[in-house]
Subunit: 414 residues, 2 copies
């Protein structure tokens, strides 16, 4: 039986657990089957299950699948994440969408609990979920074929002056986000889901990202991107009212869902190297050492945008990334998003010296109201733009979660 | 101070530690600096350092750099490994090679111990080595420019009938293997080493691989490749006499070194899917469930190649991968190699459905005597050939390790 002690990510996930009907929670626990679930997500609180002599194994950790919200959003970010965007085949109708989502939901519900998918060709590769989550999101075409009304923001983002978008990383009809602390688990899960999607859709693009491994840092440590920059400090914290207000929609069929923006942001590591530490800190507005605002000493200190240097310049440059991202216009207190991005680092091709960057992923209840104004400010003026190039962009609607017996997307397909 | 309790990988590594001159071992421990090294490599034996309230963090684990042998060979395989093959610039002479290897050795000695490289542009990204190792190996051109005599086997492998080699993944003058349980650490280390190589060499190819994450399985669990196949069962075990005999050379400047063969083996996942479980087991010669030989019940059972089915066929097919790889010719007891490969799984391009496979890496004292006969048998006849295509191939000489103050390659460059 799985150890049900709560951790920070489980606290957020418990809204999913509470949503479960009747004895379903116990069923999820029991479904762990072959996986010997012993501990909790986080090394700092890991301990051995009573009566067991073995140490906690992260591989056996499961994140509940069923619930009010889909998992993989308020779940403490796993080490690996692959995003796959699919294009629907022309002949797939609303009935086809329902069949597809029933199959994929069933696969995801099993695999995330450490149980092989039906007809899993490598069932042994499903036994170490390592906090596997599978999250589905719909593009405009998916929603249109379902017959539902799409939210106004479900369309490509406005063109920003900084964009150098490559069609290979844009848009898509159905997005699947597969995340786990184990890269083999991610590979097997993606493979199983794509096999079951093959009669319905083709792969449009795939993006593979990583963060620090399980066990590398204390839980709750903010990630660093490949610039070395502490990235995500001002994120709302799952489990708080603010997080819920920022992320979850309360509108129609999206109630309990959210939106997902994914931007592939190339980072030009080689010109970044030409910048000294002070230049980097001015561009970001935070120290490189611990991510503190340049007016503070600790990462989570509030920045003081009015502070001036001895010769009268702002300590935090007006055009620094942090200042521009945050904005200081009291008319827009709602401009917050929840970021859950990943680094990418591929072997460079041709004359390139690096092919590195950030798979920026953000969740917010309303793209137009929350994401676009921030991005517009950054596009207009952000010192970091000199070293970052958006090369891919897509917007998806993330439907709510479902209870056992249901399927993701039922609020528009049932 | 780092906790020095020994684990299996540390047992092998202790030959390196014993090699250290004077108080260098203590120096290595002290060099951990910012990294809070608390535990041991393996979750199953992890425990908290006396007097500390914190749980063990794998990120702080260090593998000794200095020693008789280079690290990253007898080191229990980390979750992530990147191989980078460099081509030397035409103007680089023997003196240049010495300068290059002094710089790279210094970088590796620091980074593996959780200390930033000199002039590290992101020193904060060096604090979680997570068992980082950096291993250097020389191609024919490197050895030629050093003026040393190359071993006879240091040349491209003979052409095998199954090969469909792409030049993009062949050969190279200098190979760097960077392996760690943390993918961010691998990315930063590769970046630092490439920056310091830039005046001497260009990148020829790069291959990024993964295995199960730290914490997913009990230590010592044999990896599965993306076919789901238990892969590496018959490997010699580091720390045994047999391992030493198979891996370490005793010849001239290579004494304490070895050879490295890397083969990029594409696995055609889609036709593999057409094969049922029994067909897969016949092709491999082992069960899919736990890797036991088809004549046994446990992974490490000795295969019985004489066992017959009720109707007189061998239980382990004669052309199965295991049977062909192992051979049964008593004239060649020395045909053993030590495999340390990694899975790869890239987003497919164009009409491909997958771009997955194995970065096969083997270490052996003598390529011609140990590796080539096995590969020749497999190329001639191996049921698995139907689903595997070698697309890259390279052979390198791995020089011995060095003591503090020395550098990798000094046996041909000093």
């Amino acid at each position: 039986m799985v150890d049900e002690r709560e951790t920070r990510s489980d606290t957020a996930a418990s809204t999913r657990r509470q949503f479960l009907v009747g004895g379903a929670a116990a069923g999820v626990g029991a479904a762990v089957g072959a996986a010997v679930a012993l501990g909790v997500n986080h090394a700092a609180t890991a301990s051995t299950a009573p009566g067991s002599g073995a140490a906690p194994m992260n591989g056996a950790q499961v994140v509940p699948f069923y619930g009010e919200h889909q998992a993989g959003i308020d779940t403490s970010a796993q080490a690996h994440s692959t995003l796959v965007a699919l294009d629907l085949l022309p002949e797939v109708t609303r009935d086809g969408l329902r069949r597809l989502m029933r199959i994929l939901t069933d696969d995801a519900a099993r695999l995330t609990q450490g149980t092989p998918a039906l007809a899993d060709s490598e069932p042994e590769m499903a036994t170490a979920p390592a906090r596997l989550t599978v999250t589905f999101a719909f593009g405009p075409e998916f929603v249109a074929r379902s017959g539902a009304t799409a939210p106004a923001w479900l369309r490509p983002l406005p063109a920003f002056s900084i964009d150098q978008l490559q069609d290979a990383y844009n848009d898509g009809d159905l997005l699947i986000q597969v995340a786990s602390d184990d890269p083999v688990t991610v590979a097997h899960t993606v493979r199983m889901l794509l096999k079951d999607s093959r009669s319905f859709a083709t792969v449009r693009w795939q993006q593979q990202g990583f963060r620090a491994a399980y066990g590398s840092y204390r839980p709750g440590t903010t990630m660093r991107n490949l610039f070395g920059q502490v990235d995500g400090t001002s994120n709302p914290q799952p489990g708080t009212e603010n997080f819920d207000a920022v992320v979850w929609s309360d509108r129609g069929w999206l109630a309990g869902g959210t939106s997902l923006v994914v931007r592939r942001i190339r980072m030009t590591m080689d010109t970044w190297d030409e910048l000294d530490r002070s230049g980097r800190e001015q561009a970001v507005g935070r120290t490189m050492s611990n991510g503190a605002p340049l007016t503070g000493t600790e990462e989570f200190d509030e920045p003081d945008f009015d502070a001036k240097t001895a010769i009268g310049f702002p300590v935090i440059p007006e055009f620094s990334h942090m200042h521009r991202a945050r904005g200081d216009d009291p008319r827009y207190p709602t401009e917050q998003i929840f970021r859950r991005g990943y680094n990418y680092d591929l072997p460079p091709s041709g004359a390139e010296v690096s092919d590195s960057g950030l798979i920026f992923v953000s969740y917010q209840a309303d793209v137009d109201r929350q994401y676009v104004p921030i991005q517009q400010r950054l596009a207009d003026l952000d010192l970091l733009n000199q070293w970052t190039i958006p090369i891919g962009s897509a917007v998806f609607a993330v439907p709510p979660g479902c209870a056992e017996g249901g399927y993701i997307g039922e609020s528009i397909l049932a």
